[in-house]
Amino acid sequence: MSIHERDQIAIIGVGTTSFRQLFEKKDATHSAYDLAADAFALALADAGIEKDEIDGLFSARVPSYIRMADVLGIQRPKVLNGFDGAGRMSGVSLQLAAAAIQSGLATTIALVYGNNGRSAGAKYGGETPSPTGLYDASYGMTSPGASLALMWQRYTETYGVPDGALAPLAMNNRCNASLNPDAVFREPFDKQTYLDASYIAEPLRLLDYCLINDGGVALIVTTVERARKLGGPVVVLSATAGRGDVTNFYASDDYWLESSRAVAADLREKSGVGPDQIKCVQIYDNFTPTILFSLEGFGFCEPGEGWRFVDQDFESPDALAINTSGGHTSEGYMQGWALHAEAVRQLRGDSAGKQLKDVDVVQYICASPIITSHIFRRLE
């Protein structure tokens, strides 16, 4: 069986904690393991399978996969591994789970992610180690948002982009989150509110930034053959592709364009699906410019045109639906994981946010130092 073969891997269960309820408990301290375990229990129930049917476990962001396996009582899985907390790892984890199943290493793999960033006081900046971190810190350079600010400033000067061009993306995320009872922030805002928000790393404002919140997400992945026996609609990972684009700096010279195009071409070849057939995308949005770079890199619009492309009426039925559960800036910062869950739910018709009608293909895109993209479909 080849990894290139389409529609072999199914996602039979998704679980997400209520990010809103967790956020409202301002004084509570949560354990990342506990959050991941909550999501895992929800995903098992969603899949309608027993825990002893799980024979593979991938954990993410929790400190130890050993402890995670012990907490969940999955002590003898056929595959066991842990991924770090970088958002790019959500796409990578699913790719490797699919590969492990297709190669016969395991049959049913649980992917569990726990993030206690809010209650642990994560700041995502300061004197943090990176290849150039000590040099950068001398000048006050730190934080992923500042890296995106560098990229966005370069982009705006290169392409002559007016201030406020990112507002539609921030507004779209919030508008979709307003429908999602579990989203952290649900109050829609207008462009003036966006413009009035304080800068964090100028040119990026607060409303361009992902949240810092607590939560867990879990996915249960297996073969399509096994998924069919469970009855009900089968959502498949139809195809996936990826590529590293790694330098000393997070900030990419070409906004990951060349690498994204390579991934897009690979994915199109494997899935037979390109941007013209996509009505719904879940795009990794640590900061709003990332959405724009992703749309350009994956062929939804031309390089330099993304800001014009997103200056659209997102409520129009013809508009490309982006981040239907609210994205990282409004639903919650689950580092790509909740976007995966939302892709599956859209296809099943039980989205937490803006449910589209008749959606049978959803694409996930993450532009970052590891670019990943998946095509999800619903089998009849």
Partner: protein, 134 residues
């Protein structure tokens, strides 16, 4: 008793303390390396030599930091941070000495050094607008 050889990071700052920006230059393939490392990341040669750079650079991009992340009073926001691309190729984070106006992507800069050491005892290489040199 012989003293330990300096690490690449220490060597970098040692040159800076004398007002020189030197980077490792590969004798094998001619590449320049930043941040300092153990071998050339183009050809993997270890034959690296600390050579002075021209000091010419262009603005790759810049930002103004508004959030306080560091306790060092010199890094009290708002302040400008610049990513420059050296004429030799490597990019590095630095800053522009003047605050009279914002930089522009692609504009030419030249190297200047702080006279005083920062909180870590380093003399920082910074940049200035090219016209200030005329």
């Amino acid at each position: 008793m012989t003293s330990e050889p300096l690490t690449p990071d220490e060597t970098y700052w040692d040159y800076c303390s004398r007002g020189e920006l030197r980077l490792q230059h590969c004798a094998g393939c001619g590449s320049w390396l930043f941040p300092p490392g153990l071998r050339c990341n183009t050809c993997l040669s270890r034959d690296l030599h600390w050579e002075p750079v021209s000091g010419r650079a262009v603005v790759w991009s810049w930002l103004r930091m508004h959030r306080k992340y560091f306790t060092d009073p010199a890094l009290t926001p708002p302040y400008l941070v610049t990513m420059v691309q050296l004429a030799e190729g490597p990019r590095m984070i630095s800053s522009i000495q003047t605050t009279e106006r914002d930089p522009r992507v692609g504009e030419t800069l030249h190297l200047v050094f702080d006279d005083v050491e920062d909180a870590n005892g380093h003399r920082l290489p910074r940049f200035a607008y090219a016209e200030a040199n005329r």
